[in-house]
């Protein structure tokens, strides 16, 4: 009877162990704006929230009206370097795209292509010079120059011990006038996360 119990216990342990080694992944579709924190690391929600809030702040400041009064029309912005000095591999390109989307969709500013994008467009324009009809050809030297450059950094401070960590992200952005190097806007957004990983796993 007791031997049976030992074997049952051993079999149970084996089932538990083997259960952890197998099984097909379970996938379900969720909305892209659903907040889903899996690891506590910087994620799409952080990127979206920071970009939307910072752009809303940027567009509510006086520089945009001053630009309209001084030069007329919408200001053109280019994204410079967003430096990642945090402890995570953050895809700053995704973050920059979120900023571009939020700014363009506001209808209050134009975005000009970045250095890499411009190279591709220029290559295509040079190709058009040879292969496209005159009526449909885009001429050289007609690019829209940026009025302002947006640059900044993503920083983090981590206080961690054992299975618990408090992570503090700080995103700093600034808008610099290309004409005279004036900083016309400085924005800052902070996120603090308290992450506690389970001490027991299956």
């Amino acid at each position: 009877m007791q031997v049976n119990a030992v074997i049952r216990a051993a079999a149970l342990a084996a089932v538990l162990v083997l259960a952890g080694c197998s099984g097909a992944p379970k996938v379900s579709r969720i909305g892209t704006d659903t907040v889903t924190d899996v690891s506590g690391r910087w994620n799409d929600t952080d990127s979206r929230l920071v970009s939307e809030e910072m752009i809303a702040d940027m567009l509510s400041r006086p520089w945009i009206e001053e630009h309209r009064l001084n030069y007329g029309g919408r200001p053109a912005v280019i994204v410079g370097r967003i430096r990642n000095v945090s402890h995570e591999h953050i895809n700053t390109e995704t973050f920059v795209k979120d900023i571009e989307r939020a700014l363009i969709n506001s209808g209050r500013a134009d975005f000009v292509a970045s250095r890499d994008e411009r190279d591709v467009v220029r290559e295509e324009r040079a190709d058009q010079d040879v292969h496209a009809s005159e009526a449909t050809r885009s001429a050289m030297g007609q690019e829209r120059g940026a009025d302002y450059m947006l640059s900044g950094s993503i920083n983090s401070i981590v206080d961690a011990a054992g299975r618990r960590a408090v992570v503090y992200y700080q995103v700093d952005l600034e808008l610099i006038s290309m004409k005279d190097n004036r900083k016309v806007w400085i924005g800052q957004k902070k996120i603090k996360k308290d992450i506690e990983a389970g001490a027991i796993r299956p």
Binding site: V3, I7, A10, G20, R201
Partner: protein
């Protein structure tokens, strides 16, 4: 009745055989390591992939990441290492079923939890990968992750001085990112660890002096001069005076010791029970590379010095694990002895025999380790005028006198006042 009583014992044997197939033996890895002695990481990778993930996904991924790096697939290596990171963090939590199985059944049934020096090496190689792609920011992230890992797991310093080389690399990365203050902090921590656990590399001494000077810390400069000697200052400031840059070659050579199983078995006629203890021991492969030098335009520029001997870390780690491993092996024998006695009472000698057979079949040491890691990490630091270099070569001096010269095979851009960090990896000359 006899057949009913015999059934549980048969189940036990079948169960033992089943588990025998699952036990993480790790011995299959010799087929992965063998091609590395002939500097064939592609072949080693093929062997690894055909063997699959039998020792757990995390261990598979770190082996794969390193082999891909050695084979020149840096993006693939980065992806493998990144995939391994969350799995390793997950393994930090205690598993009741794995703990129970290690106390009653056998070691090595659960996921692989790398020891401290292996966890740090993962970030070390990932940082070198990022540097290889010119991603200084990405390398900086790894330096930050090393610091957080050390803080979170071991209060700032890893056991057995396993963090010294990683701290040194972090300093280089901060220097390359133009952050001399953070670089000095990292170098000072590296110095503290090296001093506690052995010899302080001369290159680190020079960097400490130079960074203390750059940061305007005169008292610290004086302290280092007392500790390292006056000659170091001249060497340290040479780069600043001549507005030079430098090439810092991080060379990984040889293979780290791998774990093998040592089994002790003894039948005690009085107890009517076989005592079986399987424990890991280390096998030390010889590092056939005795030294490394950097060569340019046919001229040897500089020789190396050893930053880390992973054999020492591996040995210290196993020594630290041994008391717990022995205690668990004893616990398993006690559990088996109780089961054997009860089986003898219920089913007689046959039952006891079957439980003994099952127990002995199950007893196995966990000999898993990141055995594709190098034995030595070396540094060659070469002051160079700023510019682009194409013909830089590395000489690998074998302990048998043979020298193999290998081109870096890419352009090296040296900036004034900054280290340009390049990683190479070779098992044999």
């Amino acid at each position: 009745m006899a057949s009913r009583n015999g059934l549980p014992a048969c189940v036990a044997v079948a169960f033992a055989m089943l588990l025998g197939g699952c036990v993480a033996a790790g011995g299959w890895l010799r087929s992965v390591e063998q091609p590395l002695y002939h500097n064939q990481p592609d072949l080693a990778l093929k062997h690894l992939e055909s063997a699959g993930q039998k020792d757990g996904v995390a261990l598979y991924l770190i082996h794969k990441g390193l082999l891909l790096r050695m084979a020149g697939d840096i993006e693939g290596s980065i992806a493998a290492f990144e995939a391994a990171k969350p799995l390793i963090t997950f393994q930090e939590a205690t598993s009741i079923s794995e703990l129970a199985s290690s106390l009653v059944l056998t070691e090595g049934l659960g996921g692989y939890q790398p020891p401290p020096f292996e966890q740090i090496q993962l970030h070390f190689y990932q940082a070198l990968n990022r540097l290889e792609l010119g991603d200084l920011e990405g390398a900086r992230v790894e330096a930050m992750q090393i610091d957080i890992l050390l803080q979170r797991r071991w209060g700032g310093f890893a056991p057995h001085g396993a963090d010294a080389t990683a701290r040194y690399l972090s300093g280089l990365i901060f220097e390359a990112n133009g952050e001399p203050d953070d670089a000095l902090i990292a170098y000072r921590k590296a110095y503290q660890v090296y001093r506690e656990h052995g010899r302080v590399p001369v290159d680190l001494q020079r960097r400490l002096l130079r960074l203390a000077y750059i940061n305007g810390l005169d008292a610290l400069v004086q302290q280092y001069l007392r500790e390292f000697g006056d000659t170091r200052l001249e060497e340290a400031l040479q780069m600043l005076e001549r507005e030079q840059g430098e090439l810092v070659l991080i060379a990984a050579t040889g293979l780290v010791p791998h774990r093998r199983e040592e089994v002790a078995m003894h039948f005690d006629p009085q107890l009517g029970f076989s005592v079986a203890m399987a424990l890991p021991a280390l096998s030390f492969p010889h590092d056939a590379i005795a030294s490394v030098a950097v060569r340019h335009d046919g001229r040897v520029l500089q020789g190396d010095e050893v930053l880390a001997d992973l054999a020492e870390l591996s040995g210290a780690q196993l020594e630290a694990e041994m008391p717990a491993l022995m205690a668990k092996a004893i616990a398993r024998n006690v559990a088996r002895a109780i089961a054997a006695r009860e089986a003898a009472e219920e089913m007689g000698a046959f039952g006891s025999f079957m439980v003994n057979v099952a127990g002995a079949a199950m007893e196995a040491a966990d000999i898993r380790s990141w055995s594709t890691l190098p034995r030595h990490i070396r540094v060659v630091s070469v002051p160079l005028a700023p510019g682009t270099y194409t013909g830089i070569e590395v000489d690998y001096h074998g302990s048998n006198g043979h020298v193999a010269t290998q081109s870096l095979g890419r352009e090296i851009h040296v900036r004034a006042g900054m280290p340009t960090i390049v990683g190479v990896h070779r098992v044999s000359p």
